[in-house]
């Protein structure tokens, strides 16, 4: 039996956005459901490894009211591939340059299918250098076992980080 999704055979949506700013747009489908798209609707999460450790960043998350330790991630720009998005975000947040040719795809995810149209790619990457620039307090290399444990016991709740780490572990990639 298949667990694959099946695409709706429904009519086109043709309603103007009910709300939009630089970050999100919302529209109603013609059955009345609200669809929300963050950014372009695509993004990437980077699981960057070096010498048994994984690159983590801490950022203020105003939606949850907390500083959260997470894998670097970001929304894709128009016409940008997932690998390019990951490389740009990692470089921007940490100064670390990833080796784009080392990429291993860990599949895609929908953070919240009830609400968000977004689809995000999970990528495992090696580095070309390991220089950590910017604020060291908010960038660190974390031991793989420590990170796996944190994703398992709920210390890390972020779905993007948990998805990438747990898929990589169950694939025996980390």
């Amino acid at each position: 039996m298949s667990l694959e999704t099946e695409v709706f055979k429904s009519e086109e949506t043709g309603v103007d956005p009910v709300f939009a700013n630089d970050f999100v747009s919302m529209e109603y489908s013609n059955d009345g459901s609200l669809l929300i798209t963050v950014g372009t609707g695509l993004g990437a999460v980077a699981l960057v490894r070096r010498s048994g450790k994984i690159l983590m960043i801490r950022t203020p998350r105003y939606a949850t009211g907390s500083f959260e330790w997470e894998l670097p991630r970001g929304g894709s720009l128009e016409d940008e591939s997932a690998v390019e998005t990951a490389a740009r975000c990692v470089e921007g947040w940490t100064g670390v340059t990833v080796d784009e040719s080392s990429v291993i795809h860990l599949g895609v995810m929908n953070p919240d299918p009830e609400l968000l149209t977004n689809e995000v790619s999970l990528l495992l990457l090696d580095t070309l250098n390991s220089t950590v620039r910017t604020n060291h307090e908010n960038v660190k290399w974390v031991g793989i076992e420590e990170l796996v444990a944190a994703c398992l016991n709920g210390e890390i709740e972020d779905s993007f980080t948990c998805m990438a780490v747990l898929r990589a572990r169950l694939n025996a990639m980390i």
């Binding site: 939606a63 944190a150 210390e155």
Partner: protein
């Protein structure tokens, strides 16, 4: 014989939650099913911490609201920051296990334009803890609360910390009867399936299933040796 007893604790993030301890009726002793849940990690320091900074840039408040959600522009160091509050912000997904199979429901997800297979999931009412939402989902989808041993916490999930305030509890429940057929209150039995646990784990790993709630609950349960 043993049974599970709910025990309120403060979890590693300082939040009130409930864990389920296994009570051995012969010896009268209770033991943690997931011992580390209530214990502060010795080495790791990856926990979230509250934002306590002076956000001098004002927010602009709620700019959109309907009966389900609202968009609230909150103050941040970057200026007014877009956040979405969906319902109460809380909820639960529950992994129901029976004889090595896991209950999956097919949902029309209009945001994706797809019917997707997911674990049963629902929102919390205002002020209600996540386990209550999990128990309600269980009752709705299986109709057999009397045969449910209890809930085991698989930790919480935040689906998108960049924009959603949502946090949900992930739980597992084992049905120990062989009579418990999937029960669908809507009569849409095609939309419920008991899926072999190994097949489900593979689907979560290879990306066939993309829903973060389902994947994180299933992968945590597998790595903890629960399925």
């Amino acid at each position: 014989m043993s049974h599970l007893i709910p025990t309120p604790i403060v979890d590693v993030n300082g939040k009130q939650t409930t864990v389920y301890k296994k009570m051995d009726t012969a010896s009268g002793t209770a033991s943690d099913l997931i011992p580390h849940l209530g214990v502060k990690p010795a080495v790791s320091d990856l926990r979230a911490t509250p934002i306590q900074e002076d956000n001098s840039n004002e927010g602009t408040g709620v700019v959109f609201a309907n009966r389900y959600l609202k968009i609230d522009m909150v103050p941040s160091r970057f200026g007014a920051f877009t956040t979405i509050k969906n319902g109460s912000g809380g909820g639960a997904a529950v992994l129901v296990l029976r004889e090595g199979k896991v209950l999956m429901v097919r949902q029309p997800r209009y945001a994706l334009g797809e019917n997707t297979w997911e674990l049963p999931r629902g929102g919390s009412k205002e002020g209600e803890d996540y386990s209550a939402a999990a128990l309600r989902e269980l009752k709705e989808e299986t109709g057999e609360e009397g045969n449910i041993e209890g809930l085991v916490s698989l930790g919480n999930i935040q689906p998108d910390t960049g924009i959603l305030n949502t946090e949900a509890g992930l739980f597992m429940s084992t049905i120990n009867t062989n009579s418990g057929e999937a029960y669908d209150v809507e009569g849409e039995i095609d939309n419920l399936r008991w899926v072999d646990a190994d097949e489900l784990v593979d689907a979560c790993i290879d990306g066939t299933i993309k829903d973060s709630f389902t994947c994180v609950a299933v992968m945590r349960a597998r790595l903890k040796g629960l399925i």
